[in-house]
Structure formats: C-alpha cells, structure tokens
C-alpha cells in the first residue's frame, strides 16, 4: 500500500512492520514524531509492544539494552544531543552484542543551538561498534529499518539508521508500505541464545581481564566485517521479496565520467539533479552515494573510483582540525590502490544550511578548474 508520509512516520511504520516488542524512547526535535506515532500504535493496539517512557536518552538506551538482553526485539530513536547523552550506552549496546535498531534523525549539536540537519551527531559515534546507514528517501528509511533488524540479528551488532532532520524527517513523500505477511517472511522472530532469563541467571557485562578483552574486541571487529556480506545478502533478499535494493554504495551515471561526486543522505538526491544537468551540458560527471558508513565499504569504493582522475567529496559534517569525515574515510580506502584519484574535500550544509543543485554545480566547477587538491577542504558558501 502506498502512503504519502513524512520520514519520521516511515521509521514508525518500519518499526511496526518489524513487530518490535519493546520501545524505550525520549522525545527530541526533530525525532519526536517517530515515537509519538509508535506510542499511538501501542495505545491503539496496532502494535503489540511495550512502550517505556523514560526520563532521558541515557535511560532510553539503557532500557532498550535491557529489553534486547532478554531476547526481545527492541527499538529506539533519537537525535543530536539525545544521541550524545546516550554515548556511554551506545558503546554498551554494541559490546553486549545486542541486535538493537535505532533511528537517528541527523541534527546539529549545540551550542549555537540548532535543530537542523547535520551529520556530526551520528559520526561522533563512529567508533562504538554500531553499523551505520545514511538514507536518501523516506522509502529507503522504512526499508532500511527492516534490513537493519535482519542484519543486526545475524551479526549481533546494533544498527543506527540516519535520516536528515527536516529534509527527510518532516518531508512527505510517497512510500510503499509493504505487506505484513511479506515482512514476517523476511524478518521472522526467533529465540536467541545467551539471553537474560530469571530462570537461568547469568552475569552480563562483568569484568574481563587483559587476557581476553582483546579477543572480544577482535570478534566485534570481525562481526563488523562479516556484516558487509550479511548486508549484501539482506539487500538481495529484500529485492527478491519487495523489489527494491540499495546496496552499501550506489553509483549514478558514473559510466564514462571523469569527475565523481561523493556524498550521502539527502545531498545525494540533490546531486542527482545536478549530475543530470551537467550531463546534459556534456560534462563527464557522475555520483557515488555512500549508504553504509559502518562497516565502511572500502573495497567497493575502490573498485568504482579507482579509475577516476578526480573525486569530490561533499560532507555535511566536520572533524575539527582535519576535514570532512566521509572524505577522510574515502581517502584511507583509496590510499593503497596502485592507481588512485585526486580527492577534493568540500564542507557544505552544516547546521541545516541549504545545499541546492547550484551548490553542487559550483563544487563540480571548482573541482574541474583545479589541478591539485588544496591541503584543506573548501567550505562552500562560508561567509568569512
């Protein structure tokens, strides 16, 4: 069934279709509608889940961890400051190897207080052990919630699904809501092992001495790497049942291109428009959208971009003192290739500043005029 819904509701419908059993969440703009909708579903009986109202995001994640530890399919959603407050528990969830799915509505961190789109919140959680996806459309948001549980429950790592604040969270788009029966086939509920069970009590998260801590971290890392294949399989199965797939990265009009624009989230869809316009003008420009950020699909990126002369990475984030975070990731993925492209870094759209097709055209033109990438990333449109 097709519905015109905002991105936040796409998350809610995704969680409903996944038959989540426990939701613990705290409201924060621009995420609030996700949990409002889920709370309504719980109240009306459309969703048979326990909704736990909590007093903070730290408790939201702690409760979600507790629920997931008992074997329940648990869900939460947050944004920005809320995600930052969860930080301790974000680590805990991953190292507890719990298949939690969380939606994070990308929003800038304060101060200066801001409620608008910016990826610094989720990228600050890069090294916690969570899988991270960045979505371009409301349909992709819903579908990724379903894929997220399928992947998480196989590799036993939590999954964070990111959508741009307001640009997706509050923007209505037509979304196909899949049949519950099909979703149930894609995502069956199964009893897990090593769960918190009062009838068979065990200690969880206790002391681990130096002889074994490293092994546990090694296994987490292996699980992250393994999840690339699991995600590929989950995407393929999704296509077989629902007819849609996204890949960990997606190339758009890269054939015969000399310049590849690389970006994520809603800037990717704006870039498609710019690329179309440039192609009409005969410019050899294509686009690479990065959907899966953790684990980072380095080999796939290398395969697609290895032959290019120039790559321009557009980041809606900043690692202060270094540059755009996707740009760093890309550079490190390409560095050991025998033939590697020049990488130009651009910072744009921080704190929700508009990134229009013209912004993308400017970036393409700037990249075309240059022979050597500057040492520092260019801040597009910055007024200093």
């Amino acid at each position: 069934m097709e519905k015109v819904i905002i991105g936040n509701y796409a998350v809610s419908y995704g969680a409903q279709l996944a038959r989540v059993q426990v939701i613990a969440a705290y409201p924060i703009t621009p995420q609030t509608q996700i949990v409002e909708k889920l709370a309504e579903m719980c109240a009306s009986g459309e969703l048979n889940a326990r909704f736990i109202p909590v007093e903070s995001e730290h408790s939201a994640m702690a409760s979600t961890i507790g629920a997931a530890a008992t074997g329940a399919r648990a869900f939460t959603a947050t944004s920005s400051q809320g995600l930052a407050l969860m930080h301790e528990m974000i680590h805990w969830a991953a190292a507890s190897r719990l298949p939690i799915v969380m939606a994070n509505v990308n929003r800038a961190l304060g101060p200066g207080w801001s409620i608008w789109a910016d990826q610094n919140d989720s990228l600050s959680q890069r090294d916690t052990g969570w899988l991270q996806f960045y979505c371009e459309s409301n349909q992709e948001v819903l579908d990724t919630v379903l894929q997220g549980y399928r992947i998480a429950e196989q590799v036993m790592l939590p999954v964070m699904i990111n959508l741009d604040g307001f640009l997706l969270s509050h923007t209505s788009e037509p979304v196909d809501i899949p049949d519950q029966a099909l979703v149930d086939r894609y995502l069956p509920l199964a009893r897990r092992d090593l769960i918190l069970d009062p009838d068979d009590p065990h200690s969880f998260g206790g002391l681990v001495n130096p002889e074994h801590y490293m092994e546990m971290r090694y296994k987490m890392h292996q699980a992250q790497l393994q999840s690339k294949e699991v995600a590929r399989e989950a995407d393929a199965q999704f296509k077989a049942i629902f007819g849609r797939s996204y890949g960990s990265i997606e190339g758009y009009r890269l054939e015969g291109a000399e310049l590849a624009l690389v970006t994520s989230g809603t800037i990717a869809s704006t870039s498609r428009v710019a690329v179309d316009r440039l192609r009409e003008q005969g410019e050899k420009v294509g686009l690479l959208k990065i959907r899966m950020f953790r684990p980072f699909p380095g080999e796939e990126v290398g395969e697609l971009l290895g032959g290019f002369k120039k790559v321009a990475v557009i980041d809606r984030n900043i690692s202060f003192g270094h540059g755009g975070i996707f740009c760093q990731e890309l550079k490190s993925a390409l560095y050991n290739l025998l033939k590697r492209p020049q990488v130009y870094g651009y910072i744009a759209g921080l704190g929700g500043r508009d990134v229009t097709p013209q912004t993308i055209l400017d970036i393409a033109e700037l990249t075309a005029c240059r022979d050597v990438p500057p040492a520092e990333a260019d801040w597009i449109g910055v007024k200093v």
Partner: protein
C-alpha cells in the same frame, strides 16, 4: 561460541574452552549466577513492619480505624462493620455523638483536611443495622457477671463479656437503657430507634437488662453475690449547683434534668427567655433543646469561644439555630421576683494565665455588672456522680470510684468504668473503659493473663511519602434545613451515601499499615520482592542488597530498615 551449548552446565562445573575462539562473543558468565547471592552485600535490611496509625492511637475505644477505612475503600462495608464491632458495640451511636479525637490526630489534616472518620463510622454502623448484621459469640461459660448502669460503659462491658460467653445482667435505674445516650443526648443528635437497635444487638448476645432498678434503693450492691464479678458504671447524673444568690428561685433548672425530662417525655416547665450557663456539650444540648421548644436562648460562658469544651460542630450548629453567645460573662446572682426568676445579673470577665487545664483562667472585672432579661436559667456547669449506694471497701478518688488502668477497684471482684470512675465525660472513653474492664474481668475469672501493653510506634505526618497523594476535598455531611430543624427534634445530620463513603475512605493515607499498593514490589531494583497470592509480599534476602528504595518509596511508612545482625545467621 556454538549457540545453545549452555544446556547441561552445572553449578559446580569448571568451564574451560579449547581456545579463545570458543569463548562467547560477549562478557557473560556461562556458569549460573545462582551461586552469587548478592544479598551478602547488605548491611541494612528492610522489614515489613506495620505501625500504629494516629487515628487508631487516638481512639479511646481502641477502634481499628485505618482497618475499616481500608475495607470501606473496597466497598467491603460488612467486613468493615465487623471490624468496628470487635472494639465498639455502638458504631451508629458513636458515628453521631463522638467528639472524634481520631480526626484531630489524622495526618491528613496537615495535608488538606482530616478524614471524616466520624461520618464513615456512622455510615458503617447504620449499614450493619440496615443489613441486620450480627456478631458471633464464643461458647457459653458458667460464670455470671453483674453490670450496674446501662450507659455506654456498662453496655460495652456487657457486650465484650457476652461475646466471650459470659452470662451478663445489667441493672439500670432509669426506665430505659442507654444511660446518658438515652436520657442526656437529645434525639435530634441521636434518634432513639438507632440507640434501641444497637442495644438490641447487645441483648441478642444474651445480655439481660433490668430497667427501673436503682442501686441502693431497690437493691443493694451486696445483693449481687450470685455473680462472680460486678462492674459499676453508674455515670454522673447530678448537675453541679450554680451556687449563686437566688438559685432557689422557680425557673432555675439544670441541664441534665431538662434533657432527662425531655427524653423521657415528661412535662417540662420553661419560660420564653432562657439563659444557659456553661460552655460544654450539656450546655449546647440544653440550649438547642430550649430553642426547639420555642425559647429565645442566650448561652453565658465565662471564657471565650476558643476555650469552650463543647464539640465545635455543636457550637456551629447552635449558632445556625439562632442561639446567642455571651462570652467572658459569669452569672453573679439571680434577680428574684415573686420567688421566680426575674432576670440574671452577670459580670464581665477577662482571661488571665493558663490554669491546670491549660485554658486561660477567667478573672472577674469589677464594676462591669449587667442584667439579662430572662425568665429561665439553665445551669450546665458540670456534673457529679452519686456515690451514696456504694458499700465500704470501694476506695474513692476525686469524686469518683478509684480504679487502675484496667478498671480494677480496691474491692476484689468489683470493677468500674465510665464517668463514675474516670470522669472523662465522653461516650467513647466510657466504651473504651467498659472494654478494658471486660478484659480484666475475663482475666480475673478465667485466670488467663492479659495481653501486655506495648509502646506504640505512631506514624507522624513527616513519615508519609506525600508524592503518592493528591489533595482531595473532605465529603460534606448533608444536613437538614434550619427551619425543619427548629420545628422539633428530628435528626440534623442526614448521613453519608454509599458513594460519599467510598470517596471519603479513598482519602485515607493508611498511615503505617501496608495496604498492598505494590509500590515496593514495583520499585525493587533487584526484583527481590515477591508477591504472594497476588497480595502479601516476601523479601528474598538472598538477593536484597539493602538499598532501601522500598523503605524510601513506601507511601505510608510500613517498611522499616534494620541494621543487619552479622553475627546472627
């Protein structure tokens, strides 16, 4: 780790792995944690410990007030009635005439308004009468007990003894049973049929009441030797004389005589302009009765309103009915005209230092004499006991019979209670003294030891966790219109409905007594509290870490924290 391999692990099994590869991916103990009794961390332990609610503690009749309010919350009015009847055979009476010290003690009065315990008690008493509920009686015993006086103390003593199986006979001087309840309290406060029904309930336990037999006149105390014990509760039926010049004039009468004559349907001689002297309940009863006979009534009281010993509601209702009050005024002499009252001369008073009673002493102000134009003066300044019938061997004390706290007199086998012994002057204190004496008589006759008195731990307002309560208005008592009231002796207060009783009972904090609210059970962070039969709780000390959250959260202070006795296993 291979999923599912935990099956078959035993407590005593040492778990080893061939290599780190076989270890589980997360920090989890593969052995069961049943060996780890985290209760050993505890140095304080919570214990469920019911304490004494202030209402129960304040009730002279020893009613389990919190208990019947709790039952009333659930609409269990029959069981609530039975609970009152364990201590007090006259709930319908007390629900009307008691001065309810329980409400003064109620912790809720610090929060918004005290519980209307009095009104709930009346509802429950009337409920028992309406449903014709009966109390049970133990197997009959051979011993016989005589009770002298069928007032609240005598009735209470007889009732408690009869429930224990004793054969009890009450000797009553008046033509009706009830003592002051029948001949003192006016019908508009206590309708006669209510009193008669509760007395009939007592008689249904086998108590025999012989009316019209005055001790010392018709029969002597020594004639009661066929009884193994005697309880004397003859009350205080003589009014204290006014002791002012002119007091012999026609038209000077006394409150108790007036009330007795009105209650027994005898003719009463009274004028149109009446002065009532005194500020107690008898003064109010006399004044309000006189108003109902069409008189203009002025109450003359030597202190101010704050010092009046009458129940505040009585004073308020008297004012509503048009009774005038002259405070800080004392009668000086009766102005006599043709041997009858022609007026009353009074003197203004001022208040000095507090006296022994704690009230400020009235001091006459010279030269402030003034006259009151009245034709009838009703004295109601106090009452005394008639002790003339008592044989020797019964020691006296301050105008009454000397007793210990159990009602035991100096003469073996003779007990006493109520106003003649305690002079306490209230129905509920009389009922309490009758019950105490009944227990003492049972102990005397059976040789069973009486229960030891214990020092009660009364719950203070500060011990209530107010986070769990919201302000709620006290249910109002519906009253008859003034015009209807003044037309005769119909009952003024109309009583609570079932709905009002339920709503009012819900306001009870249940101070110090667990009422199974589940707060401890929900809050225990170690899930160490179990709920038995969906009602009582059990703390699993193997896992209680002694954090005290249950104690802190308990809305009513029904859990205590005790130091762990490490040397005690």
């Amino acid at each position: 780790m291979a999923p599912g391999s935990k099956a078959g692990w035993r407590l005593d099994e040492k778990i080893t792995f061939a290599s780190e590869r076989d270890m589980p991916p997360l920090a989890v103990s593969l052995g069961t944690m049943l060996v780890n009794k985290t209760g050993t961390w505890r140095y304080m332990r919570p214990v469920y410990e019911d304490k004494t609610p202030p209402c129960n503690h304040a009730c002279p009749a020893g009613e389990k007030i919190q208990g019947y309010l709790e039952l009333s919350k659930a609409g269990e009015f029959g069981r609530a009635w039975e609970l009152i009847m364990e201590d007090n055979p006259l709930p319908s009476v007390c629900g009307r005439v008691c001065y309810h010290p329980c409400e003064q003690a109620c912790n809720r009065s610090n929060f918004d308004e005290p519980l209307a315990i009095h009104h709930v008690e009346r509802f429950l008493g009337d409920y028992g009468l309406r449903k014709n509920l009966k109390v049970k009686r133990e197997a009959a015993r051979s011993e016989r007990v005589a009770v002298v006086g069928a007032g609240p103390a005598g009735l209470s003593c007889a009732y408690h003894l009869a429930r224990k199986g004793y054969a009890v006979t009450i000797y009553e001087a008046q033509p009706v049973a009830g003592g002051m309840l029948a001949v003192g309290i006016p019908r508009y406060r206590l309708p006669r049929d209510i009193l008669e029904k509760e007395i009939a309930n007592i008689c249904s336990l086998g108590v025999e009441i012989k009316t019209g037999i005055r001790m010392g006149l018709d029969i002597a105390l020594d004639d009661l030797s066929g009884h193994q014990a005697v309880f004397i509760a003859t009350g205080q039926h003589q009014s204290t004389r006014l002791d002012i010049p002119g007091q012999e004039a026609r038209g000077v009468i006394y409150g108790l005589d007036l009330l007795r004559d009105l209650n027994l349907g005898r003719s009463v001689e009274m004028g149109r302009r009446v002065a009532v002297i005194g500020g107690g309940n008898t003064a109010m009863d006399a004044a309000r009765s006189a108003v109902r006979r069409g008189a203009e009534v002025t109450v003359v009281y030597r202190r101010s309103r704050e010092e009046m010993p009458a129940i505040p509601e009585e004073i308020q209702e008297a004012e509503e009915e048009g009774i005038q009050f002259l405070f800080l005024s004392a009668p000086k002499r009766v102005l006599v005209k043709n041997a009858a009252v022609g007026g009353l001369e009074c003197l203004k008073m001022r208040l000095g230092e507090p006296d022994k009673s704690g009230r400020r002493r009235p001091i006459p102000v010279d030269g402030t004499e003034f006259g009151l134009d009245v034709d009838t003066i009703i004295g109601a300044i106090g009452q005394e006991a008639d002790l003339s019938f008592l044989p020797s061997g019964i020691a006296l004390d301050r105008g009454g019979i000397q007793v210990d706290e159990h009602g035991v007199t100096a003469r073996p086998g003779t007990f006493s209670g109520g106003d003649v012994a305690t002079g306490a002057g209230t129905v509920t204190a009389a009922i309490g003294s009758g019950k105490k004496a009944a227990l003492a008589i049972h102990s005397y006759l059976s040789g069973e030891r009486m229960e030891e008195a214990f020092e009660p731990q009364v719950v203070a307002y500060e011990e209530i966790n107010l986070d769990y309560f919201e302000p709620a208005a006290r249910q109002a008592m519906p009253r008859r219109q003034i015009t209807e009231r003044l037309g005769g002796f119909v009952e003024v207060n109309l009583g609570y409905t079932e709905a009002a009783t339920l709503t009012e009972a819900q306001r009870c904090f249940s101070c110090g007594v667990c009422n199974h609210c589940d707060t401890c059970w929900l809050f225990c962070p170690d899930v160490a509290i179990a709920k038995l039969d969906h009602r009582d709780y059990l703390i699993n000390y193997d896992y209680c870490k002694g954090c005290g959250v249950c104690v802190e959260e308990c809305p009513r202070s029904a859990i205590s924290m005790e130091e762990e006795m490490r040397w005690k296993k």
